[in-house]
Symmetry: C2
Subunit: 436 residues, 2 copies
């Protein structure tokens, strides 16, 4: 059987990795897929660099539309990124009857509903294993491997840059700014790291996970997005003393009234496997009602790990070529007629426990006022840590771990505690999850 | 569309779990599969108990052949276990044109070649996600999620009973016999625990992983199988002091001249995620050339975790019903014409590093003799630990970690060291893997 023909839109890091892995492992891949997978055309604005990567055998063009218009091409791989031209090209490829493979989480988290509908209409597949957690086959796990389960929640370290920064802050006791610069020097953070450090990239991925886990449409605009730029070394240290690590988690959880969808720094018990995922690695924990807790770990970025996911999608599509489109794995795990209208909950209704750090006057009665306010808001205390004021100091840190409550209740309590004249600085509040 | 009809052979723990999860999550599962999945007939020798589980709606028979002969049944789920009648029934179901789902690792590790060939001949699927690591979708990861990769090795904690025992031995400092009794009392070990504690169950699973990872036929008879019955609390303690945990691993690794396939207690650096998998949990690490290291963690046994895998297979088969059989995922990951004849290496050619514990006379020159013998066999030393002999004692423990060598060389060195008159007891030898 002839090789299936692939057109590549964009041959940067991931495109180059995809080309290289397809070339290097062509025998293995053909042995699995039952058919060769061949990159037949490449489009890149920098066609000189593109030619230097793919050599003479593969036509390189600067106009992506030439790839889409090529009747030989069965599958278009979009590796341009972003919401702009990438969206236009993906929709054009679908309209031309091509299957699409993309690593573009931003595009799918924001425009997924439109894109998947167009693909269904045309009877083609839009595959995106590379869009969440790079080389880890987490989308396959959520869509297929755990298909028996009512998923309860999924929570992941799904941004390598921020996990690298948090790992360095903890192990070296450094502050955020210093480590960010180091991460940029080492290539773990981009020159403009905003999307990573502000939690946007993780929120794109969490949005896709929420859709796959709960059969709801992608709703990035409803996600709560909070990054790590405000995180202080002090809190990482206190958390450690209390038996917790702080990780930037993307979390989506089913509650009675709706779905939680949020990205924020989170205290996790050090005894959990995911708390020990360090450096730029990714990991996702999924809780299903039948299977219990499962965890998936690996590299979330990089040329070849991401290529591994792109090519897995290519192999799947190669196999699916002869299947009745209605019997393929649905884009968002559930069949279109089974998509649920369960709402994403507003942040005020989200349930978590909290870590609080109050800078307080070292004076009798402070603790009693704080605990009274918490009690009045029906927030109970799990643990407390009060640093003894150093000789001659008039201030000290009061650290509190609460039991689970709602964000709304905590917001009210925070305003009241902040108003106390013995609370001397903005209260630090970090959410905490047991993940059990 | 009508529900797909499933016949269950055996409704014990896993069968009962499968029935319950299919019932409880029927809406979710149908939403994913696009079609209901219905247990239409159950065969169990204990038909009274079976009836008490499935109620009135489902016909229960004591003769499995009535299920196989039922023209309404599309998929037969074999949950009887063992090599005997289960093999006959699986082959008969295939001959009757039924797809088969099984959790029977023993059957497939030993008779897989015959069974998969029969299935191919008939154009039906034999699915076995539940056969390795219970609810963890590791077979899907190896066959599909990592399809881009040349797999380098896979290593897993794939027997919960032994991992529970090892975890208890370490955390409580108890010996094997004591913990085994406790495990039996708690239901973590069976009345006859031989298959678990002697490593046979793990070897069945490792055999399946070797076939899936490297495209070789299942060859259980070539696996090296070593259990945990000889393991002493002393060695767990020394390993801990050196920064290692001891786990029973199933390991399969590609080498230049062939494939390693082995189950044995193994020292793993405590810093590895898999070293921290405790209790009855399972985890598998897979190293691919593109993706790097990935890890999959979850419950490896139990009614509902195993049912989760059985049902994932049912969903896959439901979808595949309309696919050209040649385009389905191949049973052993690779197409029949791509199956490799790479041999399984004899144990003497396997490469590992080693932990050695020698009971030696507390006398000058002992260390020099031992290290000389190792050097003469070209085995280099990575670390050493010598306990000071207690006051009045004439013996002490000498613990050595070696760099990587072959099993054959180590065997020679062991015979020579054992012959020294200053070595006073059988030398303890445990293999060590860095898993990086």
């Amino acid at each position: 059987m002839n090789a299936i023909k692939v057109g590549l839109l964009g041959i940067g890091t991931v495109g180059g990795g995809t080309f290289e892995v397809l070339r290097r492992n062509q025998e293995e891949i053909k042995g699995r897929a039952g058919r060769g997978i061949e990159i037949a055309m490449v489009a890149d604005l920098n066609s000189e660099r593109a030619k230097s990567i793919v050599g003479d055998g593969v036509p390189v063009v600067s106009d992506a539309r030439q790839v889409i218009a090529n009747p030989e091409i069965d599958i278009v791989v979009e590796l341009i990124g972003g919401y702009g031209i990438a969206k236009t090209l993906v929709l054009e490829a679908i309209a031309a009857g091509k299957h699409v493979v993309t690593a573009n989480k931003a595009l799918l988290a924001v425009h997924g509903t439109e894109i998947f509908a167009a693909a269904r209409e045309k009877g083609v597949v839009v595959a995106f294993e590379a869009a969440v957690a790079g080389g880890i086959p987490i989308i396959k796990a959520l869509r297929e491997g755990l298909a028996a389960n009512r998923i309860e929640w999924a929570a992941g370290i799904i941004n390598g840059t921020t996990n690298f920064i948090l790992s360095e802050m903890r192990s070296k006791g450094l502050d955020f700014g210093t480590v960010l610069k180091e991460a940029q020097r080492l290539g773990y953070a981009e020159a403009d790291p905003t999307f990573d450090i502000e939690g946007v990239d993780a929120a794109h991925k969490a949005t896709l996970m929420s859709a796959l886990a709960f059969g709801i449409p992608v709703q990035f605009d409803k996600a709560h997005v909070e990054g790590i730029t405000q995180l202080q070394a002090t809190d990482i240290k206190y958390a450690e003393q209390l038996g917790y690590r702080i990780k930037l988690l993307g979390i989506t959880r089913r509650r009675e009234k709706g779905i939680e969808l949020r990205v924020h720094p989170t205290l996790i018990p050090t005894t959990r496997l995911i708390a020990n995922v360090e450096g730029a690695m990714n990991a996702v924990v999924v809780q299903g009602d039948a299977v219990g807790t499962t965890l998936y770990y690996g590299k979330g970025a990089g040329a070849e790990p991401t290529a591994s996911a792109v090519i897995a999608d290519l192999v799947d599509i190669t196999r699916l070529a002869t299947a009745d489109p209605d019997h393929r794995v649905p884009h968002l795990a559930f069949q279109p007629d089974a998509i649920s209208s369960t709402p994403i909950l507003p942040m005020a209704e989200v349930h978590t426990s909290f870590y609080l750090r109050l800078r307080v006057a070292d004076r009798a009665g402070v603790l009693s006022k704080v605990t009274t306010l918490l009690a009045e808001n029906d927030i109970s205390i799990d643990a407390m840590l009060q640093r003894e004021a150093a000789e001659g100091e008039s201030q000290t840190d009061l650290v509190i771990l609460t039991h689970e409550t709602t964000e709304g209740r905590m917001n009210t309590a925070l305003v009241q505690m902040q108003a106390l004249d013995t609370v001397l600085a903005p209260i630090v509040r970090i959410r905490k999850e047991e993940l059990a």
